[in-house]
């Protein structure tokens, strides 16, 4: 899994005065980011927010709403989210496992610069068309992280279909964990009367939510990440041999994020390079650590600024959301790689995850007598390339030698 959006909220435009929503009981300031990352999912009316407090505690939230806020119950909704998902989390100290020795200044206007040059174009909410030099950098970074993997493992690569069975996501526990990101794929029900009725009615009614009444198929989704494809592929199987099984894939992933702005920092539709380790607990844990360290060394060699810290997934609204978040942080099940993209802004470009036997059990993947253990690494390639460009600029002459050479060797710009 690669859910990496902490502190990534885009600034939202202010429209009218904010509505202050008081928390019925203050929350420790350390949990502020956990409130922030969920607010856009509380109500579609929320278009911006600011936490109110003294640093040690958060006492209220100032909400900017899309229209004068008449929605009753907004206060109750915010408090319900905080009570369920945030308040029971016990604060942990931020912990970094790597900090780059380089301190490069990142240009916060990189997206605007790329757009002005015609290298990127916004084509929808959280959807950006990318051209050169991003495409060559995309290929370079993808090859680079696979090359690092190949130093220690013979990975099997797969290309998965874009659609994923809804039942696979259900089996992975996605519905209870991350309902906010779900993207169902549907189609008109295959019945001639349905097609005819649709053709007759849409010119009058237009395409609106009522069209869903002619659909009714929710058996496929867009994948939120690649590793569920891998678990489904290995589902019901016993791992052969003693060693680690390493599977990698690259594919488009989709997560509804509710708050988008015009940059590559936060996308609805993005590309993940995913690596899944399957095997014994010790082998998986060791492989994650070893690979992670090599990636850090690679970033240092390029001269990128950044750090890697203990993170957690945005579990939302489930009955055990807080317990799962806290367990992840305490046990360091997730490390998030963050790179600066502006003077005061960073984005998560990858994560290194240990699942224990969660997916081995869920997908009935066995090893020896018991469930297999797993871990995965995911890189958000658009974000990685964007962070690189924010730190090194768009002029190839200013890029580090390995990048310039790598891009040219592959026939890029």
């Amino acid at each position: 899994m690669n859910h990496t959006h902490r502190n990534d909220q885009p600034p939202a435009p202010a429209r009218g005065g904010p509505t202050r929503v008081a928390l019925h009981t203050p929350v420790p300031g350390a949990l502020g980011p956990e409130i922030e990352r969920r607010l856009y999912f509380v109500s579609p009316r929320i278009s911006g927010f600011a936490l109110v407090g003294d640093g040690d505690t958060v006492t209220a939230v100032d909400l900017t709403t899309r229209a004068p806020c008449e929605e009753e119950g907004l206060e109750a909704k915010v408090n319900r989210m905080v009570d369920n998902d945030v308040r029971p989390q016990m604060p942990t100290r931020p912990k970094s496992v790597w900090t780059s020795p380089h301190e490069r200044a990142a240009d916060g206007d990189t997206f605007e610069r790329l757009a002005a040059a015609g290298a990127v174009a916004e084509v929808g909410e959280g959807q950006v068309a990318v051209g050169e030099p991003l495409l060559s950098l995309f290929a370079y970074f993808d090859r680079a992280v696979l090359g690092i993997l190949a130093q220690d493992h013979s990975a099997r690569e797969f290309r998965y279909p874009t659609l994923i069975r809804t039942s696979t996501l259900e089996r992975a526990g996605y519905f209870t964990s991350f309902p906010q990101h779900l993207m169902f794929v549907t189609r008109l029900h295959n019945d001639i009367d349905v097609y005819r009725s649709f053709q007759e009615s849409y010119p009058r009614t237009g395409i609106g939510p009522s069209v869903l009444q002619s659909c009714g198929n929710v058996d496929y989704c867009l994948p939120p990440t690649m590793c569920y494809h891998t678990f489904a592929q290995y589902g019901g199987r016993a791992l052969e041999g003693e060693g680690l099984h390493v599977v990698t894939s690259r594919g488009k992933s989709f997560r509804f994020e509710a708050g988008y702005s015009t940059t590559l920092e936060r996308l609805w539709d993005f590309t993940i390079r995913e690596i899944v380790f399957l095997g014994s607990r010790e082998d998986v844990a060791r492989a994650r650590e070893r690979y992670m360290r090599k990636v850090f060394a690679f970033l240092e060699e390029l001269g990128l600024s950044g750090w890697c810290e203990v993170g957690n997934d945005p579990f939302f609204s489930g009955s055990d959301a807080s317990a799962r978040i806290w367990s992840q942080r305490l046990q360091e099940l997730k490390y998030e790689l963050r790179l600066p993209v502006g003077p005061d802004r960073s984005i998560a470009v990858g994560s290194f995850n240990f699942h224990d036997d969660l997916f081995g059990r869920a997908f009935d993947i066995t090893r020896g007598e018991g469930p297999a253990h797993s871990g995965c690494v995911g890189f958000g390639l658009e974000r990685l390339v964007f962070a690189f460009l924010s730190q090194f600029g768009t002029d190839e002459q200013d890029w580090p030698d390995p990048v310039r050479t790598g891009v040219r060797a592959a026939g890029g710009i």
Binding site: M90, P91, R281, A323, W326, S327, L330, L333, D356, L358
Partner: protein
């Protein structure tokens, strides 16, 4: 409360949740697969209630939760003078 008293109470609690597996004080019962990762939250709630402690960010080190010795250290950390 003595260290040994705390140790006994912790063993009693763990026995109920690990299917009665014999547990040495240094065994990592998470790594051994006796409990799943979510059990950590139950452990924290147990320590707070059983030993009348409020855990803070500085206590949130997994080494305090994955062995009996770690839990004893956590449970007696505020009362070390008596142990």
């Amino acid at each position: 409360m003595t260290t040994e008293n705390a140790r006994e109470r912790i063993h009693t609690f763990l026995r109920e949740h690990t299917g009665g597996q014999p547990l040495a004080d240094t065994d990592d019962f998470f790594a051994l697969g006796y409990v799943n990762s979510l059990f950590a939250m139950q452990l924290a709630a147990f320590v707070e209630k059983e030993f009348a402690l409020t855990l803070g960010p500085d206590d949130m080190d997994f080494d305090n939760f994955r062995t009996v010795n770690g839990l004893v250290r956590l449970a007696t950390s505020r009362t070390s003078a008596q142990s």
